[in-house]
Symmetry: C2
Subunit: 417 residues, 2 copies
């Protein structure tokens, strides 16, 4: 089957499924999620075998070790995916919530109610666990989902989808609620991005290249996720010990994720006091340092930062460091280079804290805490489908409510205008 036929057919079936999912009770949705979780565990051997095919091929192709580790599935990881589905079952159902309601002078009553988005397309890269998370979250929010994972995980994703889609259908979900694009042809992504007739939204999850391809080519509405050039600004009044802990944590605790810090900004008044120990600690932890001219005098390992470094999401143990004249320059730098994901200030000055939070334009703006907290679980939302870095529809961690739309339900007694 060619990919246009495949996508059109999957879109058509998903749209039909979405009508049934929209009116499905919470009890049935939860039963479906629990059945999907059990199916993962019951089909563990089949899924692991399929995964071995992907891993073998990746090793032969010379895929770097950290990426192979992300691709790898084992008993523990399959149980973790199943537990994720059970946690989604335990989350409150967002559908049907009445957000607000009122009565008009003419007697019409109006209620603004949460409804599903409809059909969601998810385009993602290596990790096969996204297949399960995305399917579970979309289903709980009453949406049909069309998944398009990376070609390197195609056998794993096919085995996973077969298991959970079949279990979902047997437990009461309509056929087509969960579908995987089977072709690995890259052109299929472009075709998917034009499927306006069937898709209500596309959410890309992956690197900057994938996000760019989606934003540039999609005629379906997109929610951009993920890119994080995050800053921490150490103000003149910062508690030095707190600043060091926060700045170290934000860079080193997990450098490969989007909420990790990429640039450290330091107020010039405290640079001489703060930076020598800080830079030495980074260096000892294996962080490659790239700094402005002034920064370089505080540690011999600091290489000169280029203009490009300020705009780069390293996703690695690399840090750009800049000394600034004060809050204004920090705000200017952040306005110029931030991807509007997560930004932090460490300060004891009330006015500066307030100005930073008001003036910085980002999904999450922190005072005296690590940027690493921008995450669905850390926010208390439970599982997330991604971190939105755009301002439309959803911003920051996207949980179940972000996978919904609204509808005005209006009741009259014959009103005309």
């Amino acid at each position: 089957m060619d990919y246009v036929t495949e996508l059109t057919e999957k879109g058509r079936i998903a749209k039909q499924a979405a009508r049934k999912l929209a009116v499905m009770s919470t009890a049935v949705k939860n039963k479906v999620l629990m059945a999907m979780a059990s199916a993962l565990e019951e089909n563990q051997a089949v899924i692991c075998n399929a995964n071995t095919e992907d891993v073998d091929r990746a090793e032969k192709a010379g895929m770097p070790k950290p990426l192979i580790d992300r691709l790898l599935l084992n008993q523990g990881r399959i149980h973790a995916m199943a537990d994720g589905l059970r946690q989604i079952a335990a989350l409150p159902d967002p559908i049907g919530e009445v957000l607000t309601g009122w009565k008009r002078p003419n007697g019409l009553t109006m209620a603004k109610e949460r409804v599903p988005l409809g059909v969601i397309g998810i385009i993602y890269e290596a990790r096969p666990n996204v297949t399960v998370d995305a399917a579970g979250l979309c289903l709980k929010a009453g949406n049909a989902v069309i998944l398009r994972g990376g070609s390197e995980a195609i056998h794993s994703n096919t085995a996973i989808t077969a298991a959970i889609a079949d279990a979902a259908h047997k437990a009461g979900a309509p056929a087509g609620a969960i579908q995987l694009v089977e072709t690995t042809d890259r052109q299929a992504v472009i075709a998917m991005l034009k499927l306006n007739q069937y898709l209500d939204v596309i959410i890309p999850r992956g690197g900057a290249g994938l996000i760019r391809t989606v934003v540039e080519n999609s005629t379906v509405p997109v929610i951009e996720t993920g890119t994080g050039v995050c800053h921490t600004f150490v103000d003149a009044s910062a508690d030095p010990a707190m600043a060091q802990e926060i700045a170290f944590n934000a860079k080193v605790s997990r450098p490969g994720v989007c909420n990790a810090m990429e640039t450290l900004l330091v107020h010039q008044a405290v640079a001489a006091e703060f930076l020598p120990a800080m830079l030495a600690r980074y260096h000892a932890a294996g962080v490659e340092l790239r700094g402005c001219e002034q920064t370089r005098q505080y540690h011999p390992a600091v290489k000169p930062a280029t203009a490009e470094d300020w705009a780069t999401e390293f996703l690695d143990l690399i840090l750009a460091v800049k000394i600034v004249t004060g809050l204004d320059e920090a705000l200017e730098h952040i306005a110029a280079y931030s991807t509007r994901h997560s930004e932090a200030i460490v300060t004891r000055d009330y006015g500066n804290a307030k100005r930073f939070q008001q003036e910085v334009d980002a999904a999450a703006v922190y005072v005296n805490a690590s940027t690493r907290f921008t995450d669905g679980f850390e926010f208390g939302f439970g599982a997330e489908i991604g971190i939105s870095t755009q301002k439309l529809h959803a911003r920051g961690p996207m949980g179940l409510p972000e996978l919904t739309s609204i509808k005005y339900v209006i009741n009259g007694t014959g009103q005309i205008r």
Copy 2:
């Protein structure tokens, strides 16, 4: 100046202005809106002269009378535009509202606050009053705006923008808060749709052709507005008098707007009783009728409806009429042809009312009322920037809250992860 240079420069200035607008107090914003209102009235002669240029040119070009009427400005209309700005000043400021807040077990406090979207691009057609409405709404919600009106209104829009932008700046708004694209080159629209560096969202207001051009070409996030293929379903249990009033009002009260009904669906059990008088009343009101085979037996003026008629937004005194076997067929027809704007059922059956409201996927779903109520003022929102027919970000009438985004403001005491 070529249009790419013009747009890039306007985008750059708008982005700077947006940072200042985001932190502007409600008092200053309202003062700016009042100054803009006064400026319209003070510059009435200049604006009317400019408008005469547009109208003369349109008449020479043979523009149809109703369109010329939409283009025309006079003293009364300029006062109405000024009053619109004063009404926007009186609306509550959405910015800074804390939507929700909570404390995490680790002591982090989190608040979800309303912030402006940033820079909004509005692309619209004939009516010069959109220039004023859009500028006022964007400003009150703390956004910079780049306006791109129709070439047929370019002199009017230029004179209006000059008056209000100058007054806004003098009253305290940053330079570049309100800008108009001056070139009438159609390619400028395409360039605007790619201005991701500066624009946070584009809202098209106009006919289906404009909306399609924007959706197909924009890499900036879009909020689709307007197209309304709205249905009214007269159920078997409908109160016949109420059904007639609602069905007549929905079609005839203002056929040129998006919330007008385009297709009437009638339950077969009441067709013989309901349709003869209804069709006669439409015919007497000058409505051209296009019906299914069964419908045609109830009035000699009913022409045969084509497949295309079911999918057409006539925006005129034309109505498609179809007899259906019951609620299920009505729901199927609506699912197939609705543009998800406004849909109505007239019924006395509780179960059918509930099913219709739950299963129909549209921005506004009515029981026993005319679809004509889908409107910012009728909903009690005040002025609107358009009616969103998409499910992302905003659905239905878009007032001030729909021109905002959110930000998470997080306060800690040194938390790391």
